[in-house]
Symmetry: C2
Subunit: 385 residues, 2 copies
């Protein structure tokens, strides 16, 4: 039986449900990023109240600190971070291949130096899956080689071939009870390469499939063209996951193309940097025009931040570098992203996704007649994830 | 009608209720310190869930940023920080007199340079009361001169005399509707001076009386000797407030001597530095022995931190400098302080305060058979309050 079921369609978009060992996940879904066993600045209780059904944990970061064996002995990642719903763990591939100067790849795996203490470490498909088994995540990602956006074709081809061989080894490794496994499709921004690699990866018995190596610096329209072409060709009966993407506009475009799952540090990282999402744009809370504004960030938002606090107060906390700022801003941005996805699910069910999408991008919230344009920035593996 | 009523006595200790424009405050009470319109790392919702009935705001800090007029225009400090219960504001005296090199005192007031931008600022009794009226606090403190612990006698005597004159001027200044005003007794650690100044200040029609200038570096037993001698001689029908004190042991000693109100940055500041209070001692979460400990900080504590998270998880967050650490640690320490006070209130009502006090100091929590000794450190006006 498949872990994923499509419940409704609207054009290429799907509303569905992904069944995991820690509950069902309604899709399309945004997964807040909990790099170091915490979504930065919020508690598992906050995430529960926000209605998050799944969060992401990072194999690379958790393996280095506190260590996979330590988390296993403490009852697994769910118990460690007091989160009872689903967790997806990445394989560490994206982080390891971001360590340009500090890693050495061979056919068996990757040797690299920790960004924390410089110690020599190793990841192979078997080690990455063993770590994810120790963490006890509900969805484990296969270990992949992720070349940079501007890599020469020969390097991209070699990475695709190796990722395919590593995918097969990842599937042969032991896993945690009930753990689902997703394969990752590489191929940069060339459609022929993407199609060839999709054929190779989708021939393997994964529970779901992901597009990796996008949103890593290429122009947004190039990324959207790849997603528009490839997402509809991904296996129809399995969940489709666009890794590391993106802005609200990116998510809506991905949903329309048939993507079911997303993760990105943008809502949490941008919150900490003073960028708060509103419909159709964002508010830069550090801007002096907010210093005396008694209105909330978004008068239509039901989050703890908007229900209680003014822009003036958030501006004060931000300028005073008060810890409360980071929590309130993160709660708001996650609420915005999760509500965006809930609205998209409802719109797909009603057959109104295109209108929902256009309305979102066109709306200037009543509390912010002139929001700043949406941010576009590639994720970083290490900068304040 | 007095704002304060004694409901029960146990030796010199009193359980009572202080009526403010924003609700009743059960005493003895500990007031979390919200220097910059936020108790560091927690929200007003967190404080409500913790059961706090009153918090403290700092006139000096709020006057510099965001400014008293700004807070007034935004509806006052309660609305600004979304806190509907009581607020006490200090007068700025303690902070201003901590600016040793940056201030100049005259009979009318104090000229000083802001620690934020070096700009020249001025506080007088009238300005301090006007700021507190703008903030709209429920209890305003008179503007006082607070000499250092090691000041020569002539300086202490002059400060006492000036504080008396400033107290009278503070009472003549306009106040917010329903705002109570407390006078401050100085006199360093000399009992004769304390008694003389208590006589002068208590002759003025204040709603409550505070002991200032203690817990500023003098040995704990010297501070306790002053409190033991002077607290019982403070007006019987008014609330008695020991400013800026202290450890759980200091609070219990103060309660036994007849003090009703306390504030201190210790629970919040020490939380951020890794010191978590348990019965009879404290846990230094940075210590390596907690890295793999599946037990909570205090198995008997009902706080969000202890109910959900292990010492190992807190240790991980602390070492990774994750923002969530600061909130969880602060919630725990405030829960510990507020529960200590609730227990003391109940014990006074039951006539068992001495046993409660001794039990607290003697208890080694089951989850921490060997806690570190209680910290003793003077508050600082500026270091991470």
């Amino acid at each position: 039986m498949s872990a994923f079921r499509v419940l409704a369609r609207d054009g290429g978009a799907r509303a569905g449900v992904l069944s995991t060992a820690h509950g069902d996940v309604q899709t399309p879904v945004f997964m807040p990023v909990g790099t170091q066993a915490t979504v930065k600045a919020v508690s598992s209780g906050d995430l529960r109240e926000l209605g998050a059904e799944i969060v992401l944990g990072n194999t690379y970061h958790l393996a280095l600190r506190p260590g996979a064996a330590s988390v296993r002995e403490l009852g697994g990642l769910h118990r460690f971070m007091a989160w009872r719903r689903a967790i997806l763990t990445d394989s560490g591939g994206f982080q390891v291949f971001s360590l340009r100067e500090r890693r050495k790849v061979d056919e068996d795996g990757v040797t690299f130096r920790s960004h924390l203490d410089g110690s020599e470490q190793r990841l192979t498909p078997e080690i990455a899956m063993a770590i994810q088994a120790d963490l006890g995540s509900d969805i484990a990602m296969a270990f992949d080689e992720c070349p940079p956006a501007n890599a020469p074709n020969a390097e991209i081809d070699a990475a695709m071939a190796r990722t395919t061989r590593w995918a097969a080894r990842s599937l042969e490794a032991p896993r945690a009870p009930g753990q689902l496994r997703f394969g990752i499709v590489q191929g940069a921004v060339d459609l022929a390469r993407r199609r060839a690699h999709l054929a190779a990866i989708s021939a393997l018995p994964f529970d779901g499939f992901a597009l990796g190596g996008l949103g890593v610096g290429e122009p947004p329209d190039v990324m959207h063209a790849v997603v528009d072409a490839i997402a509809p060709e991904m296996p129809e009966q399995s969940a489709r996951y666009l890794m590391g993407v993106g802005t609200p506009a990116d998510l809506l475009a991905g949903i329309a193309a048939g993507i079911d799952m997303f993760d990105c540090v943008m809502p949490t990282r941008n919150a900490r940097n003073g960028q708060l999402f509103v419909r159709g744009g964002r508010v830069n809370i550090g801007n002096t025009r907010h210093r005396h504004d008694p209105e909330p960030i978004d008068a239509g938002c039901p989050c703890e931040c908007c229900a209680n606090y003014s822009r003036a107060y958030l501006s004060h906390l931000f300028h005073a570098k008060e810890l409360l700022y980071y929590r309130l801003a993160t709660v708001h941005n996650l609420r915005h992203y999760l509500d965006l996805m809930a609205g998209a699910r409802a719109a797909i069910t009603n057959g109104t996704l295109r209108r929902y999408w256009a309305n979102y991008l066109a709306t200037r919230g009543p509390s912010d007649p002139d929001p700043d344009p949406l941010p576009v920035s590639p994720p970083s593996a290490f900068d304040a994830t």
